[in-house]
Amino acid sequence: MKILVVDDSITMRRIIVNHLKQGGYNNVIEAGNGVEAISHMAGVDLLLTDWNMPVMDGLTLVKEIRKSPTFSSVPIIMITTEGAKAEVLEALKNGVNDYIVKPFSKGTLAEKIQKVME
């Protein structure tokens, strides 16, 4: 399974990639914003994306993916500091499969991935 991790923080990407590798997911690629993410979508089975990023934010990325003829069915988990109800609902409405609020544990990430990939 190929996973694309999108976050403008290199630290957050490193944390997520470490968690994924410890969970046995070794095919992981990274992007620093939505535009970079779109150019790395080929063959991706799961997208993990931050919301607040420069150039193109995560919500815009989700909207772009969901209307793409090629990638519209790729599962997406949003991983963000935006924890207010209104924001969670907006993300879900726009096609996010699941939502993780930072800070999160390795266990939460593993659980959500399992649920989404079922």
């Binding site: 500091t81 924890g83 930072k102 800070p103």
Partner: protein, 160 residues
């Protein structure tokens, strides 16, 4: 600035470090900041704004604390406050501000948070957004120390 506005930031800091580092920090006695200079070697600053509210939160670390936190988060041992460490302090500030924002939004106080600014250097100056008093909250993280600075100007009361 009242306790009800400070407490969400303390809860956010506790939750963030406990979840990300596996260490619950110990809080010291808060005090009002009385000069412009910050003790830390590296600081992350986030501003927030909305119609009824203006403010900012900063986290400021001595070098040894920042390197310890970085190692705990990523598993990598570094010796200088390089770009990766700067990024980690910015992201940590972002997560703490975001968690506090979530708690406050549940109390009817909504605002947007800015992208983090990271400042590095001895005795640097943190430019907080509001001109209101700055509350400094000292923390212990095992043998290490750091501080959080919060200032907020609110023209609306919280609902409970």
């Amino acid at each position: 600035m009242e306790v009800q506005y400070i407490n969400p930031f303390i809860s956010a800091m506790n939750k963030t470090l406990e979840t990300m580092l596996g260490i619950l920090p110990k809080r010291g006695q808060p005090y009002l900041k009385n000069n412009k200079i910050t003790e830390g070697d590296i600081s992350g600053l986030i501003g927030f704004a909305e119609k009824n509210i203006i403010g900012s939160v900063a986290i400021s670390f001595p070098q040894e604390t920042a390197l310890f936190v970085y190692e705990k988060m990523t598993g990598d041992k570094l010796t200088t406050l390089n770009r990766d460490v700067q990024d980690s302090i910015g992201e940590l500030a972002n997560i703490v501000a975001g968690s506090a924002k979530t708690i406050l939004s549940g109390k009817g106080l909504s605002f947007h948070i800015s992208i983090p600014t990271v400042i590095v250097g001895k005795n640097h100056h943190i430019s907080h957004k509001a001109e209101t008093p700055i509350v400094v909250i000292p923390f212990h993280l095992q043998d290490f120390t750091f501080i959080m600075e919060v200032t907020m100007k609110i023209s609306k009361q919280l609902s409970d």
